[in-house]
Structures are given as structure tokens and as C-alpha cells.
């Protein structure tokens, strides 16, 4: 019985272990980009220790919420083929897309107000530029790779 027990346990354990070890998961890529973003923005904004301590928790929350919006949009769009939509579905699609953009802008407004509490105004302005530059830097890296 003991042998059978091990037989039944070892195989699922090995499968589980293999899937855990070999998976270069989306989460890893996300983590890599997030770490790069931190390094990039820290350099651009020249944050001191006190500013960094206040800024990053709020900025991470902002990124989590932005990602939540993007994921729900992706899920929504996955189900749709605009060519085969009914009028009602098309209406809902337009509404959800515009909602997404409005929500994204609202979120940005809300969090930039908060950043003003922990960073000097000039650094908040620099942040807007740094975020744009970061995007361009990623696109440049993608272009260089291809």
C-alpha cells in the first residue's frame, strides 16, 4: 500500500514541479518590466530616500489598478469579433471601449493628485515625461530586438 501511495504521489508531484520550474510565466515578464520601470523612473526623477518611500507604494497601487483595467478590457475584447457583432453588441463594445479610456484618464487624474502630496510639483511633471519615455524605451528595445 505504501508503494502504491508513493506511486500515486510521485507522478503528480513531478508534473507539478516541472510546470513550476520550467514556466517562464507572464508574471515573470510583468515583474521584469516593473523592475525596469522602477529603475528607469528612479533615475529620471532622482528620488531621494524619503520621496521614494512615500512615492512607490502609491505608484504601485496606481499600476495595479491600471493593469486591472487593461486586463478586464483584454478579456472583454477577446470574446468579440467586431465583424460578426450584432448591433446591440457593437453598441456595448463602443461603450466599454470609451468607458475604458475615461476610467484610465480618471485614474491618472486621481493618482497624480496623490503624487503631488509626496513629491515636489516639478518631479510630478517629470514623472509624466518619464512614463512617456519609459514607453518609448520599451518600444525601442522591441524594435532593436526585431
Amino acid at each position: 500500500m505504501k508503494n502504491s501511495l508513493y506511486k500515486y504521489l510521485i507522478l503528480p508531484t513531478l508534473i507539478l514541479l516541472n510546470s513550476f520550474v520550467s514556466a517562464q510565466t507572464k508574471a515573470d515578464k510583468k515583474e521584469q518590466i516593473a523592475a525596469f520601470r522602477v529603475a528607469f523612473i528612479t533615475k529620471e526623477l532622482n528620488l531621494n530616500s524619503k520621496e521614494a518611500q512615500l512615492f512607490w507604494p502609491v505608484y504601485n497601487e496606481y499600476q495595479d489598478k491600471l493593469e486591472g483595467l487593461r486586463i478586464s478590457r483584454r478579456k472583454q475584447n477577446k470574446k468579440l469579433a467586431p465583424e460578426a457583432m450584432t448591433d446591440q453588441e457593437a453598441e456595448q463594445f463602443i461603450e466599454s471601449e470609451t468607458d475604458f479610456r475615461v476610467n484610465e484618464a480618471n485614474l491618472q487624474k486621481q493618482y497624480y493628485t496623490r503624487f503631488k502630496q509626496s513629491l515636489p510639483l516639478k518631479k510630478v511633471a517629470l514623472l509624466i515625461k518619464a512614463e512617456e519615455d519609459f514607453k518609448r524605451e520599451l518600444l525601442k528595445q522591441l524594435k532593436d530586438k526585431n
Binding site: M1, V21, A27, D64, T113, L139
Partner: protein, 404 residues
């Protein structure tokens, strides 16, 4: 006998059935999920991760080969004094509840996290002072709370009741309660200090001890971490996947069990109090395959003591009634696997939260000084480059004006 065999067979088939059902559920899960996708457009509410800490399943093995033991004062008559110890451990560290809120000027995010650790350990002691190897099963359910003010201050508490069972007699070998309270101040990303106290059995007996500690160096970089009287380590990340540590820490516990000694010193049938304690000094190499999996190999030298005495409910055991044996210095081996599940809130660059994660991994996972490591703290990015970047990784960020 036949009845017993039938019972075992029945249990075996029950076990087989439960495995079969479990595998069936895993296989059918995607189908069930797929069928729930509605044809019409249903609004997806944005979901953000709830917790900062990912649930972690950890498995480890610790062992020391045959060691010579030397009596401290008196000696029991026995031939060839030796001692051997192995420990198998499995546990789950999981967040139960996380809440965040803003301070009055919206500049700080305060947080409170409630975490549980369920831990099961099988400890096997073989020694010349026992007439046969003794196996103890130890189970603990710890509850931990961490409050962070979003800036420099965090407070940690852990309550970890545990009970041990003697496998041979199925008798309860003692229920005990270990507690920890710590105040942590993150002065800056390179320096933090801690003050607190613990009620612990890690030195083989119940002790209430202060905790005084500090860390110098970033938690995502090279750092020296000294948490007296719990552990001391020099941690060196080596690239993205490997992490090297030099450390020293105590491990140990206390047990009670029914006596069946053949030494003649203790009365047969009485309850015996057993204490063991080791101070480990060695190195750990951790391999972090990805954000879901890490494994470690730890080795070095240990020394310590083992002691036992007859206990009685009426009379408190005097210290001098213990038979104490020194463990000669020798090697140890400790290996382990950590599996992480689910998603967690982003913590990049949040050094206060790095300290919170360190508190969670260092303290309160059972009272046996098991450290699940800081794998969840993101590695520092020095390369300023993302490897294997794909279109899908950046498509959400793109607008046509970025191209020209």
C-alpha cells in the same frame, strides 16, 4: 487479521478514489470555466490583487548523521553514545485578509495583513539513550498580523500554538504556545532595525527573550541581517536566479513522552521531558527559477545539546534533574522547495513592504526557526533592459504617436 486486511484494502480504494476525483476535477476545471463564458458581452469589473503576500507551500528536510554525545555532568550507563536527528517539514503560509487605507493627506498607504501558517513536522530522534528511534509529529497553526504605516514603521505579531504527538504511543507529547512581537523601523532602503520579544522553545525550553536586530544593505541586494537571538546572516544575490547566504541560527524544541528507557535511570512508564537544541552555522544556496518556484540547499556545522528528565504533574522538574549531553560538532544538511501561487500587489521599490515581507518569512512559521526566504522580493534590475520583450508585453502602452 483478515478483517484488518479488508479494512486496509477499503482505505486503499477510498484513497485511490479520492486521487481519481481530484484529477478529474483538475481536468474538468477548464471546461467548466469555458462553459461559463457568456455569448453576450458582459462587463468585466477590473480586478486587482488583494494581498501583498503570495500563498507559499514549502517543503523541507533537515538531517544530521550519527553524532557523538558527551554527558555534561553525570552519565547514564550505555554503550557507544550517539545521537541522530532528521526532520521532514511541510507548511503553507497564506494571507487571510489584507486591508489598505490612506492617511489624511493621501500621501501614505497604510496596511494591515493577517496571515496564517499551517505547519506539520515529523521529527525522528535516534540515540543510545532511547531503546528505539522516537518519532514525533508536530503541528502548528500560526496567526500573524502585520501593520505598516506606509512609511518607516511596521509592527508584527505572531501567535503560534503547536502540539506534538509521540507516534509510537499516539500520546500527546505536549501542547505549547510560541509568540513573537516586533517593532520594525525602516530608516531607509539600506538600514532598518527591530526591537521586540519572543516566547520560544527554539532553545529546547520555554524562554521569553528580547529581540534586538538590524539590517544593513538593501533587501534586494547584498545585506547583513542580524536578529538576535534568532538568526544572523550575510545575504548575497548572484544574478537574477541565485542567492547565497552565510548564516548562523538556533533550532530546537521540547517534547514530553511516555518513558520506555532501558537504562534503568528513569522509571519505566513515567513521562519524560526531552529538550534538544542546535546552533547551526553554514551556507545556503537558493535557486529562484521564477516567481512561482524556488529551492534551497543548506549545509554547514552544528553543535548543541540534548537533555531529558522524568516529569511529574505534582513536582516541577528541577534543572539539576536533567541529564544533559553535549552534541559534538558535525555536519548538517537542509534542503527545501517553495511553491508560490496566485498574484500579489506590486511592491517594486517599496522598501517598507520589503521589510514587512522579511518579517513574515523570518518569524512565526512554526517555532522551529524555519525561514521561507525572501524570494518574493523582486530582484534589482541593473541591466536597464527587458529580456525577450514581445509585442504583447507592450501593446497596452502603445499609441500610434509613439511610432513617429
Amino acid at each position: 487479521m483478515i478483517k484488518l486486511k479488508l479494512m486496509l484494502l477499503k482505505n486503499y480504494f477510498n484513497y485511490k478514489n479520492s486521487i481519481y476525483h481530484m484529477m478529474l476535477c483538475i481536468m474538468l476545471a477548464p471546461l467548466v470555466q469555458a462553459s461559463s463564458v457568456n455569448d453576450s458581452i458582459k462587463k468585466n469589473e477590473p480586478k486587482t490583487p488583494k494581498h501583498y503576500i503570495k500563498p507559499c507551500l514549502y517543503i523541507s528536510w533537515y538531517g544530521i548523521p550519527d553524532r557523538k554525545i558527551v554527558p555534561r555532568i553525570d552519565s547514564l550507563p550505555m554503550n557507544g553514545r550517539y545521537y541522530q536527528f532528521t526532520q521532514r517539514n511541510i507548511g503553507l503560509n497564506a494571507p487571510l485578509y489584507t486591508t489598505t487605507w490612506l492617511n489624511s493627506d493621501s500621501s501614505k498607504i497604510k496596511s494591515f495583513q493577517l496571515i496564517t501558517t499551517v505547519n506539520s513536522t515529523k521529527e525522528r530522534i535516534e540515540s543510545s539513550f532511547l531503546n528505539e528511534p522516537r518519532v514525533f509529529r508536530r503541528t502548528s497553526i500560526a496567526l500573524k498580523g502585520i501593520y505598516s504605516d506606509g512609511g518607516k514603521n511596521s509592527y508584527f505579531f505572531a501567535v503560534a500554538p503547536f502540539s506534538s504527538f509521540d507516534q509510537y504511543t499516539s500520546a500527546r507529547a505536549g501542547s505549547r504556545l510560541a509568540t513573537v512581537f516586533i517593532y520594525n523601523r525602516t530608516v531607509n532602503e539600506k538600514f532598518s532595525y527591530r526591537l521586540g520579544f519572543m516566547r520560544t522553545f527554539v532553545f529546547g525550553k520555554k524562554l521569553a527573550l528580547p529581540i534586538i536586530g538590524f539590517r544593513y544593505g538593501r533587501l534586494d541586494g547584498v545585506n547583513f541581517n542580524m536578529q538576535l537571538l534568532r538568526n544572523m546572516s550575510l545575504n548575497i544575490p548572484m544574478g537574477k536566479h541565485f542567492y547565497y547566504s552565510l548564516f548562523t541560527k538556533p533550532i530546537g524544541s521540547a517534547y514530553s513522552f511516555k518513558n520506555d528507557f532501558n537504562t534503568g535511570f528513569l522509571n519505566k512508564g513515567t513521562t519524560v521531558e526531552l529538550r534538544r537544541w542546535e546552533l547551526l552555522t553554514g551556507m545556503t544556496l537558493t535557486y529562484r527559477a521564477n516567481s512561482n518556484f524556488s529551492m534551497f540547499l543548506s549545509s554547514g556545522f552544528s553543535r548543541g545539546y540534548v537533555a531529558f528528565a522524568e516529569s511529574s504533574k505534582k513536582i516541577a522538574i528541577r534543572r539539576d534533574s536533567y541529564q544533559e549531553y553535549k552534541l559534538s560538532q558535525g555536519g548538517f544538511l537542509n534542503i527545501g522547495l517553495n511553491f508560490y501561487f496566485g498574484k500579489s500587489k506590486q511592491i517594486n521599490g517599496n522598501y517598507s513592504m520589503y521589510d514587512v515581507l522579511d518579517l513574515n518569512s523570518t518569524y512565526g512559521n512554526d517555532d522551529n526557526n524555519i525561514n521561507i526566504g525572501n524570494t518574493q522580493i523582486p530582484a534589482q534590475n541593473k541591466a536597464m533592459q527587458v529580456k525577450n520583450l514581445q509585442y504583447n508585453d507592450v501593446k497596452d502602452l502603445m499609441s500610434e504617436t509613439d511610432i513617429y
